[in-house]
Symmetry: D3
Subunit: 245 residues, 6 copies
């Protein structure tokens, strides 16, 4: 069976990770999963939220947003509507939790890093691209802060790498990295966040049309785990390059 | 190993389902999972949201909320703060999706059912109790609407039953139906929504402290599946009783 | 003349006061005036709002809210609308003022007690039931705080008891404790808050259909005063019982 | 006993009612009760809110607001805070109810009149001045609309006149029309809205410091009733003058 | 060519400046430009916003608002809508910047002055009347604060005077001080803020119907500069009078 | 005198205009003025806002926003704060007015075009880059709509071109196209919007530190007019290229 864009079921879309896309942010990445493009910035500030003061521990959080015309039909701006929608809230929280899973708060010291993930163009998988790109921006920001001695250079605030991918069952076939057209047709949709060593940080599966059984769940988890291994390699390759080169 | 409240790892807390708790709502249930108590009402209105008009199909949606002192420390009211928090949004959406998974929109006709799930007392598992109780309120509301011929009596708007339970790994042991104290200590936390025939509607696993591997995931899914079978039986028993008797 | 539910004009609906309805709150009551059910919790926190710091005096405040399906037709949640309506504001303020009328701020010390009054089911008289129940929850919370030495055990923060009842003129007849059907038909509607020694804390009379004269006002005040005496007795009886027995 | 400003206990402050203060509004009044100045406009629009369409009946509503520096200390603007406070809500609702008490909706036809009462300077009694002034603006707006045949000239949309005054007990003495300094010292505070024929539209008494008994309540009602008679005369005198003369 | 109200193209409408219009505010002015009436109050508070603390410098800011029926058709209150519109924001910022242009922050000391400009009646030019009146209220507030030694009496917090006027091209003719009817017909509309010595603080020109060329711009600037000279004289005359005389 | 980045006083920063940057929007441009980068999309929808229905005329509007880390220090998201700030409102309105100045509403037919201008990186001049880029996106969107016959191909909805540039006086010298460092040091700051034929659409000059005189104003207008001529040429060159080539 051939997919809309000719991929095999277990194939990722082309992934690009451009570091240093912002002259202001301490870490910044423009990541693309096919036509999905997300701009991720990591902002370091000394100090932590009030509830964490004096703990000696840092904090990492994230905000996700879509530009109004990142989608096929223009959506209202949440700033104009005056409130953030449930989907935005949900994804922001997911990104934050995913990154915190690889953070050693003590090693971070009392510093805060905010990841902003703004979707410039959407074609399915925006949350997984956001997590995957935000990790790279976070790594750059931490390196920057260690260079400035804001974070102690001898510490290792990152305990591993983290990446995410979507999987789903379309017309009965489990597929990796759904584009928008596949996503809307999926019977089941799952987002999986893995560490670089292949363990799970988040597993979120949803029956869109039909409840799914254990066999289908296993097939999806197999696909996602393999996809995350590939993404971890792309992340490491991107970080291995000299920034600005 | 014995749990805080003496249960075995695969044991649910005592479950009670009281139907007809409201004289106004078309369906209403006070459900408790141990000390967690959620009041669920189902409100039927003829007509559907604008985007669905003329489709011949109905709609089911849900709103979840916690009373300010349902928790150990009083929380601010979201109405007073003027906005709904991310967690509330996320759970409301989860409940709605879970119930829609067992709805035949055509059979519902152009009618809307809103499920309100208000947590009166929280001790872990409020979202799973809400889904489990809301299903019963929904079934009662559909029966009421069929009695009133608002929904065609010959149709079957419910395609199955749905229930939910939390599972987690605490001190390395997979446990079913976490109470609050277990929940805060869990390394991994998962909410699983199943249909009565044992298939998955939602699987949401989160590494709270440590990423989890496939073996742990499988152990949690086994526990949750068995727990949902028990809950389905409680739901059926409750619905088999004469309402108001 | 016989009333909808067979009561005499000067008769209260059945009143029940269940204490200890929450395991978390320092004081909690489920009160019912007939089919009107209000869940009242009292939450004690050490410290006072900023404008009162250093005064040596405490503070008592209240928030009232209706569950969306507490009424015959589902109402929108104020949290979803993003703002609190005028009626909710008005009643919250009334409950707070009523309880503060029997508080000795000095004896309370710099502690704050928040009363949450959530209407689970509405059938007229929700604000009067809320005040009457909140007093009992407040008394339990103060006793708890004195037991914990948060409030000095030798002091008497309560200077008396307080209860409230509605009265109105329906078809020319003054009636006590209106249920919803009577309330919508009332020409004049009045809420009266009294201390246990028969003095007035609040008198709020409104001509719904027709202005009222002094004679009618006097008849309503007579009814209300007598009703509050009965409510004070129910409160004292409830508080005389051993909590949890 | 002499009052702060030398008045007798049963004496109103100087009352002025200037009609035609706005060139745009269909009715407009600048009313002063001593140093309290409220600008009242009545705006007529054809048509009624959706819930009243097709009823053949009109609607009257009111909005009250204080300019930020109408008080001794500048208050935040409610538009800047993004929400309306409880007191503002409460008073807006009171003004609306008071005016509707003298309206024959059928005679008004399907027209809406909005009363805006903006406090330019506050010195106690702003809500009572607002009601008293708004009545005059309303009467002018109705006359205007009858002149334009928007309201049928043969009908009498006003069934009477309405005015309001505050009373209170200060140092044990019942006083009429409290200025700000008296108001803050009052043990009991009451606002009374009366029709021109001496009947009650609203009676709102609040124990600020000490519950009050029936004798005190009666003394306050006597004072208020007499004060409203005087105000009705001022209203009639103002309306008897030729507008713009 | 004669204007709607008979003025010559370079003629201001009648200007009145009444000082001391509020008994509470430290400075207050009711200014009218023809039928446009704006009530300006200046409120002095000791201390400055957080971002300015410890600087030894003061702050001046402004808030502009229109009463709902200041215009020909009633507008919604921004407090009721829950947000401030773009036009209100824009004008508030313009007024603040204009006044700060003549303030020596050091001489002000760490004090804040807030100017509230509330439009009671609008007939074009509300923002220019607001700036012109607010300057006078500001001068009075500074004098008051120097009298109270809140601001050092030896310092000169005002470095000059500031006034504003609108100009526009109507039917090809440049006109000074547009009334509402002229304003809606203007091809080009400009607001100019000048210091008393004839220099520019703000120049805001907008092509409403047709782009304008340099010659037209020059003609408008000539008119505005002359108009501001006249306004500066009215301001000085007003301030030369004894307040309250 | 040499500028921070080595430019002459009358020299623009390097300008790049990349068309077709979004696969979804009907027109889209990534424009840069030096390090300032703004992403502009034009979204076409058939139909117009309610107040314009049946007029046969179209509508063009704009929304401007800055990504939180487009600046040197991260700013809060306006969606999270729940309200749009004054500066954002002001610039959105300016962009909309500027583009409408070259629109023939009749030729547009009853269609709406929304311009979204999101600042990805800010280094001064974001509003002028936004206007200049939005014009190009608008032209592409109109061409697209004419290709689809949504707008009549024979009509000319654009009556000209429009571009904008900032100018200012820094250390006494008038400079064109200020970068951020120049902008914060400017005594006077002006934004000028011109049509391609050299006429003015908007002139907004502000004295930041010191009022400016007519001579300075003239020098700034000369610089800006020349800069806009250059920008018009860049726009025409960009539009002359084949899209996607």
């Amino acid at each position: 069976m051939s997919r809309i864009d000719g991929r095999t079921p277990d194939q990722l879309r082309p992934v690009t990770i451009e570091r240093g896309w912002s002259k202001h942010a301490e870490g910044s990445v423009l990541i693309s999963f096919g036509d999905t493009k997300v701009f991720c910035t990591a902002s370091v500030t000394e100090g932590v939220p009030r509830w964490r003061k004096g703990s000696g521990e840092g904090w990492v959080t994230a905000e996700y947003s879509m530009l109004p015309r990142s989608t096929n039909t223009r959506g209202d701006r949440e700033s104009v509507r005056g409130k953030i929608g449930g989907r935005t809230h949900e994804i922001s929280r997911l990104i934050g939790r995913s990154l915190r899973a690889v953070i050693d708060y003590k090693a971070l010291g009392e510093n805060t890093i905010v990841l902003d993930c703004d979707v410039l163009q959407a074609d399915g998988g925006t949350r997984t691209a956001a997590i995957t790109g935000a990790y790279v921006a976070l790594a750059d920001a931490i390196a920057w802060a260690q260079g400035k001695k804001i974070i102690k250079p001898a510490r290792k605030p990152l305990t591993g790498t983290v990446a995410a991918i979507s999987v789903g069952i379309v017309d009965g076939t489990p597929l990796l990295d759904l584009c928008y057209e596949e996503d809307v047709r999926a019977e089941t949709d799952m987002n999986v966040v893995c560490t670089g060593d292949g363990r799970f940080v988040e597993v979120q599966g949803t029956a869109e049309a039909e409840p799914f059984d254990r066999t289908e769940l296993n097939a999806l988890l197999d696909l996602a785990t393999a996809g995350c291994v590939d993404l971890a390699r792309f992340q490491n390759d991107a970080l291995a390059a000299t920034l600005g080169a």
